[in-house]
C-alpha cells in the first residue's frame, strides 16, 4: 500500500517538472552511458600484459628481474608460482627526454615446471604478447620438450583467435656453447612438424582446444601461423635484452 502511494507521489512530482528539464536529464544520462561504453571498448583492445613462458630453467625469472630492475640480483631457483608485476620498463625510466609518459607494463612470468602448466591458461586471455624463452645453451638436451610446449601454446584456441604475437627468445646467448637462433628455429620447426602428425591422433574424448597448425601436407614453418612469430636473442644474466624490450614496446600500448 505504501509502495503504491510512493509511486503515485513520484509520478505527480515528475509531472510537475517542466518537460525540457526531464528531456535534458535523460539525454545527459544517455550520453554518459555511451561514453562509458566507448571507453571500455577502447581500453580492452589496449592490453599492456606480456606473458613470459618457456621450459623450466630457460631463464624466465632472470629475464623478469632484468626487465623490471635492470639486474639479476642473487640468482633464482625454480619458480613455484607466477611472478606478476606492473611497472615501467627500467630502461624507460632512465630516459628523461621522453615527453610522453611511458606506459606501465604488466609482466607475468609463468613457471615452466610441467606440473604448473595449467597456470598459463589463466593469463593468456589478457596477453598482448607472449615471449617464449628457449635455453640456447642446453638446447639439444631438451628441444623435444621445448617443441612440445611451444606446440601446445601455438595450438591454444585463444592464441589463434586473438592473434597474439609470439617472440621466440633464445636465452643464454652469452655462453660460448649457445646455438644460433637460425639453428634453433629450424630444429623447432622440424619437431613441430613431427608433432603435428602424432598429436592429431589423440582420442577425441580429450581434445579440448586443438587447432591444426600451419598448412597440412607441407613442412611446417613459423611463417605459416596466423599470428606473428619472430625470433630473437638475449642474455638474461648479462642484461643484453634490447630485443625483448623492443618487442615489448611494439606490442604494449599500441
Amino acid at each position: 500500500m505504501e509502495l503504491e502511494q510512493l509511486i503515485d507521489q513520484t509520478k505527480q512530482w515528475i509531472s510537475e517538472q517542466p518537460v525540457e528539464q526531464i528531456y535534458l536529464a535523460v539525454a545527459v544520462l544517455i550520453i554518459t552511458f555511451i561514453f562509458f561504453l566507448v571507453f571500455s571498448f577502447l581500453r580492452t583492445s589496449k592490453s599492456n600484459t606480456i606473458v613470459l613462458a618457456g621450459l623450466s630453467g630457460s631463464g624466465k625469472t632472470v629475464l623478469f628481474q632484468q626487465v623490471r630492475d635492470g639486474s639479476s640480483h642473487q640468482g633464482t631457483v625454480t619458480s613455484m608460482e607466477p611472478n606478476d608485476d606492473t611497472f615501467v620498463l627500467h630502461s624507460d625510466l632512465s630516459e628523461e627526454k621522453k615527453k610522453k609518459k611511458p606506459v606501465p607494463l604488466h609482466l607475468i612470468d609463468v613457471p615452466g615446471h610441467p606440473r604448473l602448466k595449467p597456470k598459463l591458461d589463466d593469463y593468456l586471455p589478457q596477453a598482448a604478447g607472449l615471449v617464449f624463452t628457449v635455453d640456447a645453451q642446453d638446447f639439444l638436451y631438451n628441444y623435444q620438450a621445448a617443441a612440445e610446449y611451444l606446440y601446445d601454446i601455438l595450438t591454444k584456441a585463444i592464441l589463434v583467435k586473438k592473434k597474439i604475437p609470439v617472440l621466440i627468445l633464445c636465452n643464454k646467448t652469452d655462453k660460448v656453447t649457445a646455438h644460433s637462433k637460425e639453428f634453433i628455429k629450424k630444429q623447432l620447426e622440424k619437431e613441430i612438424d613431427k608433432l603435428r602428425a602424432s598429436r592429431n591422433a589423440i582420442s577425441t574424448a580429450d581434445v579440448t582446444n586443438e587447432v591444426v597448425l600451419g598448412t597440412p601436407g607441407t613442412a611446417f614453418t613459423f611463417a605459416q601461423c596466423q599470428n606473428k612469430i619472430t625470433m630473437a636473442e638475449a642474455s638474461g644474466l648479462t642484461g643484453n635484452i634490447s630485443q625483448v624490450e623492443q618487442f615489448i614496446k611494439e606490442n604494449v600500448g599500441r
Binding site: 640480483h73 642473487q74 631457483v77 619458480s79 613455484m80 612470468d109 595449467p118 623435444q144 598429436r199 589423440i202
Partner: protein, 616 residues
C-alpha cells in the same frame, strides 16, 4: 655446520643467501631438486628432504609467500635447524618489503640468530648429558676418533656431547662411541653425530664408515646389513633352476594334461602343461581392500556437530576479514575434506599426507574478507590435486615411438602388475590403438606361468593380425623378452608389447625375476597396470614395486615405473581415488585408462574431471 640458508620467494627470486661469496656452490643444486621432487609434489609436510649428500629443511611464510631453506651435510645431525628456521622467519618477515631486493643487512642478524640457536641446542645437550653417566670405552673412543676425522674435512675437533638420545633406530651405539674424552671444540659447538643409517641410504663414498659402525653397533642397522645380506642371496637364484611354483604344501601330481591346439601354427612346439596340485579356485580368497564406507556413519554424525560450530565462527571471521589462518582453524575443514576424499576411495595415508601438505601451505595466510575457511581450504586442495595429477613429463607415446623408429630400434613396453588387474586385456587394447596409428606392433608372451596366457595372446594376435613371439611355458621370461626384441628388430616392428605374469609385491623371488627382465632388456616404458577398484593396497603395491625394482637393479640408475595404466575404470562410478593414490605415491603419470572390455575402450585421463569428481 650449516652449508647454506636460502630465502626466496615462491616466484623463484632469491632474496638472501647465507654464503654469498661462493655463489651457489652446492653440488647438484639441491634446492631445485627440493622444489621439484618435494614441494611441488605436495610433500611439503615432510620434516626433511635428502638429496645426494645434503639434507634440507624448510619453513614457509605463507602470508608473504616466502620460503626459507636450510641445507646441511647429510651425515651431520644438527638439532638447531628447526629452531633457527623459525627464528629467521620471524626476523625476516619484519624487514621484508616486496619492493626491496637487497637484504645485505640481514647478514648480521643471521649470524646472531645462528649463534643463539647453536647455544640453545648446546644447552639442551648439556642438560641431557648431565642427566646420565656418559659411558667411556677406550676402544670405541679410538674408533670414534677415526670416524670423526673421516667425516669432518677440516679436522677441527667438533664437540660431540654425544649424549646418546634414546633413539630407537640403533643410534645408541653411535652416541656412546662418540661421547667420551673428545674435547669440545671452542667454536662451532655442533655435534657431529653420525647420522642414523637406518633412515637413509649409506652414501657410497663413506664405505669405510659403514664397516666401522657395523663393528661397533650391538644392533645391526637396517640398510647397512640389508645391503650385505642381499648380495649373497642374489647369487642363489642364479644357481637354482626355476622350480614349479607351489602355493600350498600339496603333492604334485604326475599326470600331464595337454590342451594346446595343434593345427594352425607350425612354429609352436608341443606345449606341455604340468598340473600344480589341485586347482586353486576353491582356495582363492579375494581380498578387496575397503577404504570406502569405513567409519562413514560415525563421520556423518560427527560432521554436522563440528560443522555448525565451524560455520558460525567462520562466518563471523569472514565478515570481519583480516584473520590469520591458524592450524586449529584449518583442522575441521581439513578433516571434512579428508573424509570426503576417503569416501572417494583415496588411500588413507595419501589423504592424510595431502591434507597436511595443504595445511602447511595455508598456515599463516590472511583470510580475505568474505571468504570462509572451508572455501579457502577447498581451493587450495583443488590446486594441489590439479598439480599432482598433471603429468610432469610428456605422455605422448606416439612421439616416443617415432623417435625410437628414427633411431632404428623397436620401442619396448613392459606391462607389470599384480594378479588379475587386466594386463593382457589392456595390452591388446594398446596394440589396437597403436595399429590405428600406422604403427607396426609385435606381442611378446613373457607370461610363461599362467595357464592359457600364451593362447590368450595368440588369439589377440590373430584377431589383430599382428605377429606374436612366444616360447611356450616354463621358460625364463627375461630370455623370451630378449629374443622377442631381437626378432622385432629383424622384422622392423616399431613396438614390442611385453606381457608379464601377475605377481604380488611381497613375493621376493618373483619380484627378482621381474627386475631381471627389466634390467636385461632395458625397456623404453615400464607400465604398471593397476585397477581402479583397489583401495589402500595401491600404496603398498606401487611403493613395493618401485622399491624392489630399485633395490634389485644392477645398474646405477635403476629403472622404475614410468607410467600407470588404470584399468576397470567403468566399474567405479565416481570413486576415482585410486588414480590419485597411485600417482601420488609413485610420481608416474597415468598414461592410459581402460574403461571397458573391448578393444576400443581405452582413453586418456581427464585431469580436471577427476579433480572435480574427487571434491564433489
Amino acid at each position: 655446520m650449516l652449508e647454506q640458508l636460502l630465502i626466496f620467494t615462491r616466484g623463484g627470486l632469491v632474496l638472501w643467501s647465507s654464503c654469498r661469496a661462493l655463489g651457489n656452490a652446492l653440488k647438484g643444486s639441491p634446492i631445485d631438486a627440493l622444489i621439484r621432487s618435494c614441494l611441488l609434489e605436495e610433500r611439503s609436510a615432510d620434516s626433511s628432504f635428502s638429496h645426494e649428500s645434503y639434507t634440507l629443511k624448510w619453513a614457509f611464510h605463507n602470508e608473504l609467500g616466502l620460503v626459507f631453506v636450510a641445507v646441511y651435510q647429510r651425515i651431520l645431525h644438527l638439532l638447531y635447524v628447526d629452531d633457527l628456521l623459525s627464528a629467521v622467519r620471524r626476523e625476516f618477515s619484519e624487514i621484508y618489503d616486496p619492493k626491496r631486493i637487497n637484504y645485505d643487512d640481514f647478514d648480521e642478524m643471521f649470524r646472531q640468530l645462528q649463534k643463539e640457536a647453536e647455544a640453545r641446542a648446546e644447552e639442551m645437550k648439556k642438560l641431557k648429558q648431565s642427566g646420565r653417566a656418559p659411558p667411556v670405552q677406550a676402544k670405541k673412543g679410538g674408533a670414534g676418533q677415526r670416524t670423526l676425522t673421516g667425516v669432518q674435512g677440516n679436522g677441527t675437533k667438533k664437540g660431540t656431547g654425544g649424549a646418546a638420545k634414546d633413539d630407537s633406530d640403533g643410534d645408541t651405539g653411535n652416541g656412546r662411541l662418540l661421547s667420551n674424552g673428545v674435547d669440545n671444540g671452542t667454536k662451532g659447538t655442533n655435534k657431529s653425530r653420525v647420522a642414523s643409517m637406518g633412515k637413509e641410504n649409506g652414501a657410497p663414498d663413506t664405505g669405510a664408515f659403514d664397516v666401522n659402525k657395523l663393528k661397533m653397533r650391538s644392533k645391526t642397522g637396517k640398510k647397512g646389513d640389508g645391503e650385505k645380506k642381499s648380495a649373497p642371496t642374489k647369487g642363489e637364484p642364479k644357481k637354482a633352476v626355476k622350480k614349479n611354483r607351489v602355493w600350498d604344501d600339496k603333492p604334485v601330481e604326475e599326470s600331464k594334461l595337454d590342451f594346446t591346439d595343434e593345427k594352425g601354427d607350425e612354429r609352436m612346439e608341443r606345449d606341455v602343461v604340468v598340473v600344480r596340485g589341485e586347482s586353486m579356485m576353491d582356495k582363492e580368497e579375494v581380498i578387496s581392500s575397503e577404504s570406502e564406507g569405513e567409519d562413514d556413519n560415525e563421520v556423518e554424525g560427527a560432521k554436522p556437530g563440528a560443522k555448525k560450530k565451524g560455520w558460525f565462527s567462520s562466518m563471523f571471521k569472514s565478515i570481519a576479514g583480516n584473520s590469520t589462518l591458524e592450524k586449529a582453524d584449518l583442522q575441521p575443514a581439513l578433516k571434512a575434506l579428508k573424509d570426503r576424499l576417503m569416501t572417494k576411495n583415496v588411500a588413507e595415508e595419501i589423504a592424510e599426507k595431502l591434507c597436511e601438505s595443504v595445511a602447511t601451505s595455508l598456515e599463516g595466510k590472511k583470510l580475505g574478507s568474505f571468504t570462509r575457511v572451508s572455501s579457502t581450504v577447498q581451493t587450495a586442495m583443488e590446486e594441489a590435486l590439479l598439480r599432482i595429477l598433471t603429468p610432469k613429463r610428456s605422455i605422448d607415446i606416439l612421439r616416443d615411438v617415432h623417435a625410437a623408429k628414427e633411431q632404428g630400434r623397436p620401442y619396448v613396453v613392459v606391462f607389470v602388475g599384480v594378479n588379475g588387474v587386466g594386463k593382457s586385456t589392456n595390452l591388446a587394447k594398446v596394440a589396437y590403438w597403436l595399429l590405428q596409428h600406422d604403427v607396426s606392433v609385435m606381442l611378446a608372451a613373457c607370461d610363461t606361468f599362467r595357464s592359457g596366457a600364451v593362447e590368450q595372446l595368440r588369439t589377440h594376435a590373430r584377431r589383430l593380425q599382428i605377429p606374436i613371439f612366444e616360447k611356450g611355458y616354463e621358460k625364463d621370461p627375461a630370455i623370451v623378452a630378449k629374443e622377442a626384441i631381437q626378432e622385432a628388430a629383424r622384422n622392423k616392428s616399431d613396438v614390442v608389447l611385453v606381457d608379464t605374469a601377475g605377481r604380488m609385491q611381497d613375493n621376493e623371488p618373483l619380484m627378482r625375476a621381474l627386475s631381471k627382465l627389466i634390467n636385461l632388456n632395458n625397456p623404453d616404458l615400464v607400465l604398471f597396470v593397476g585397477e581402479a577398484l583397489v583401495g589402500n593396497d595401491a600404496v603398498d603395491q606401487l611403493s613395493k614395486f618401485n622399491q624392489k625394482l630399485a633395490d634389485l637393479s644392477t645398474v646405477a640408475t635403476a629403472r622404475l615405473i614410468d607410467g600407470i595404466l588404470l584399468t576397470k575404470f567403468d566399474t567405479i562410478d565416481d570413486k576415482v581415488g585410486a588414480a590419485l593414490s597411485m600417482v601420488y605415491i609413485s610420481g608416474a603419470p597415468v598414461m592410459f585408462v581402460g574403461c571397458g572390455q573391448s578393444y576400443t575402450d581405452l582413453k586418456k585421463l581427464n585431469v580436471k574431471s577427476i579433480v572435480k569428481t574427487l571434491l564433489k
